[in-house]
Symmetry: C2
Subunit: 113 residues, 2 copies
């Protein structure tokens, strides 16, 4: 089972090209990266993010990735635990929304200029 | 064994929040992410990148991460195969240099604004 944790704490730091990451910072960033380092999760995140209001119903995520609902739900949970998505329930369906700033924080840590 | 590939092809695409990644784009980006999703590799990359001229001798990378030379060399090779580092040999030692633009390309794919 992939261990994931909230990304917000990894947001503290300067871009990794500016000064060497500490062991703790590297652990946190690697944990966030692991949540992203899967093609299905990247596609799910991308579909949610590109949807209106950066939000999508789980019912609209199954077909595009061509996987079972439990598998899709597992991947969504990993992205949620890692702080990239948040979930709300309306009626029968769960909706997933991009957490504002979460991807940008990772992006800024990797920026080289 | 982690499969890695050149990141340059993953550089083609719009930020993943702008339009959904295709399956092929997601595979490529996930492969690059896997190379980064390891705390030792992030630290090595960060130490190299923060060094003068974004270049460091392998002899200066062993001690900071506290691992054996073969282990460090394995991680450096993964980063090289993924297109983040390039290697040159001068005298006895190998030097690793950040590939210009490689981290920025990943950063730009993740940017949300």
């Amino acid at each position: 089972m992939l261990e994931v944790t909230d990304v917000s704490a990894a947001a503290c730091c300067a871009p990794l090209v500016r000064e060497p990451l500490t062991a703790g910072e590297a652990e946190q960033l690697a944990t966030s990266m692991k949540a992203l380092a899967d093609p299905t999760r990247l596609r799910l995140l991308s579909i949610v993010a590109a949807s209106e209001n950066a939000e999508a119903c789980v019912c609209d995520l199954i077909e595009p990735v061509g996987l079972s609902q439990p598998t899709v739900s597992h991947h969504l949970k990993v992205l949620m635990t890692a702080g990239f998505l948040e979930r709300s329930k309306r009626g029968t369906w769960a909706y997933y929304k991009l957490v504002p700033g979460a991807l940008d924080r990772i992006s800024q840590l990797l920026v080289a200029s």
